[in-house]
């Protein structure tokens, strides 16, 4: 791995982030969506903005509406020419200033995201790592112990579970384990009336709430990792070094752990890094099902309330995390596996 490769790879990272940010800025403008107008029109329809319903709006009230729109546009800088807005936007993004939420106006988007992020990262991250471990072991054993009756009965249904979207499993789990038998709370991140702090009571309550969302991800993901691992193990088993190691009379345990598993796990590890980069989108709908206070629920509510700046901010954070995880993979993989040589990107 040369200095040139690293530099080029980092340059590509910034290029991707810049492209994504520009697209994120341009798309709404191309579609000529006016977030302020839409939001106010909706408020007006509910009779909040100017105290009358849209159907009864008279000429005077309409001009009042236009004036309100103008005032808000000025406040959000939407009355400036496009290129000025763009330069300001890129500058803001570079300083991680994602603007303000239209719906909860004084709240900044970054603050809302930072509040939700730990919930998502912790629960879905832990669930992903757990299913990676369990799934890899299951997949490897399904090839290694081909004749085990337990694996032959248990394996295929677990693999098939991977075909089901997480959140649908979640819907079923809520009904069974929270509604029918109240083992777990139905929704939320912690008990109602508790204030998030660092105390055993809070941690206990938060873990209790996290089990079901995590379980629905683990159940569905084990099969995904198992399938990949099984495929890798079949390939590894045929390699010459496996036959040679077997001929040397190494123990079965050593063959399995040090020779087969160790070689098959590398592509899995790459995949794990990619999946961890996708952590935020993976859990969006699971969080919605459980009304979990993470990024997914934030996104869901932003979509529901037409809060475009929050949607844009979350999209940007997701792109950033995906780009960052591919960058890390591309930089770490050549160190892990000397067979990988990146001469030309």
């Amino acid at each position: 791995m040369t200095k040139g490769y690293v530099a080029r790879r980092i340059a590509i990272f910034f290029l991707i982030v810049w492209l994504a940010a520009s697209l994120n800025f341009l798309l709404p403008h191309l579609a000529e969506v006016n977030p302020i107008r839409q939001r106010l029109a909706r408020l007006q329809a509910f009779g909040v903005a100017s105290g009358v319903t849209a159907s009864r709006a008279t000429g005077e009230e309409k001009s009042l509406f236009e004036e309100t729109v103008k005032t808000w546009e000025r406040k959000f800088g939407l009355d400036q020419p496009l290129w000025k807005q763009y330069i300001r936007y890129i500058g803001d993004i570079a300083r991680f200033d994602l603007g303000f939420s239209i719906v909860n106006f004084p709240a900044s988007v970054l603050k809302m995201i930072l509040q939700a992020l730990p919930w998502t990262v912790l629960v879905i991250g832990i669930a992903t790592i757990m299913s990676f471990t369990l799934g890899s072991i299951l997949g490897a054993l399904m090839v290694w112990r081909k004749n085990s009756p337990l694996l032959n009965i248990l394996g295929p249904p677990v693999l098939a579970l991977s075909a089901i979207p997480y959140y649908l499993l979640g819907v079923g789990l809520v009904f069974l384990l929270a509604f029918t038998w109240a083992f777990f709370p139905i929704s939320g991140g912690y008990d109602y009336g508790r204030v998030p702090d660092v105390s055993w009571g809070f941690i206990l309550s938060a873990s209790h709430h996290a089990i079901l969302p995590a379980l629905s991800i683990v159940l569905a993901q084990i099969g995904f990792w198992g399938l990949h691992m099984r495929g890798m193990m079949v390939t590894v088993q045929e390699e010459d070094y496996m036959q040679f190691a077997e001929a040397r009379g190494l123990t079965d345990r050593r063959l399995f752990l040090r020779y087969a598993m160790r070689n098959a796990i590398l592509p899995q590890a790459t995949n794990l890094a990619l999946t961890l980069g996708l952590i935020i989108t993976q859990g969006v709908l699971v969080e919605v099902v459980f009304s979990y206070p993470g990024i997914g629920t934030l996104l869901f509510n932003a979509i529901r309330n037409l809060d475009f700046f929050v949607i844009n901010g979350i999209v940007f954070i997701i792109v950033l995390s995906v780009a960052l995880s591919t960058l890390i993979i591309d930089l770490v993989n050549p160190i892990l596996d000397p067979r990988i040589r990146y001469q030309q990107a």
Binding site: V143, A163, L168, G277, Q282, I303, I311, V319
Partner: protein, 282 residues
């Protein structure tokens, strides 16, 4: 008959998957003729009725009858999957041939685009596009949108096959006997690629359906059409699971789970035909 039985016993996974998917498809084709479309309209029936003699699968909070809603929803969801899957496959195969056959710059561009798009979460793209549109999407627009992001799988699988087949002896023979490019593609390559194309198609359909249900469950789907995903969205919106209205959320969830398991079995079965090495995995 004997040959059929033998084929079935050799392809148990594929057969099981085909049976499940065919049954679901038949229900969604025949079903609409047996039900009253009016029942899918809001306010048609008494709200929140459990399944019973009058309403076979009950009704939801806004008075839709659920049986007709789900049957027509199955048709819509399958339509999204098939349109998007077929289009995505077509795009993917054409790009794979250009990429694998001509190499060079077109190959670099197509491969780069596929690899980059593969790392972008599908749901995210859909959220961005759907939330910037001023009007709600229709079923066909959702399908078109999904076709644009389901082609990469096909491109990767077929490209690598085309690359390995390009240098085989039978192509040399065909070339030497004066076959032109199109003849080579359709008479020599396509028949050998069929299992891979079938795997790609099933994969693209599953991905398209997954994507469509995903944005629908987020509330960004076609608001006025009762696809399965929209039924799930409304049932979540009205918190049906915690109100004990199991007949609202359970049927669409079960149908979708069956559909995904059917597609999964089909692709696992086809995979075994395409990659003989997997058969040894047991």
């Amino acid at each position: 008959m004997n040959a059929t039985l033998q084929w079935v016993s050799h392809n148990k996974l594929l057969t099981a998957g085909l049976v499940i998917v065919t049954i679901l498809a038949l229900i969604s084709i025949i079903g609409p003729h047996m039900i009253d479309e009016e029942g899918t309209k809001i306010g048609y029936a008494m709200p929140d009725q459990p399944p019973g003699r009058e309403y076979l699968l009950g009704t939801d909070t806004v008075g839709r009858q659920l049986l007709p809603t789900i049957i027509s929803g199955m048709g819509l969801t399958l339509r999204v999957g098939i349109i998007a899957g077929a289009l995505g496959l077509a795009i993917g195969v054409v790009l794979a041939f250009i990429s694998g056959f001509y190499g060079g710059l077109p190959d670099a561009i197509i491969r780069g685009a596929a690899d980059t798009l593969l790392t972008v979460p599908v749901l995210l793209l859909l959220v961005v596009v759907a939330s910037t549109l001023t009007s709600a999407l229709t079923v066909n627009q959702v399908a078109l949108l999904l076709a644009g992001i389901t082609w990469m799988g096909a491109t990767r699988i077929i490209r690598s096959q085309v690359l390995s087949m390009r240098e085989r002896a039978y192509l040399e023979v065909a070339r030497a006997s004066g076959a032109n490019g199109l003849q080579i593609i359709f008479l020599e390559l396509m028949p050998n690629l069929l299992p891979y194309i079938a795997v790609s198609f099933v994969g693209a359909v599953a991905q398209a359906i997954l994507g469509s249900i995903g944005i629908e469950a987020l509330g960004l789907g076609p608001q006025n059409e009762n696809t399965l995903g929209m039924t799930i969205y409304w049932s979540l919106y009205h918190s049906s699971q915690v109100r004990g209205l199991w007949w609202w959320w359970a049927p669409p969830v079960i149908v979708i789970i069956l559909l995904f398991i059917g597609l999964f079995l089909m692709s696992a079965g086809l995979d075994r035909i395409a990659n003989p090495r997997l058969r040894r995995a047991g």
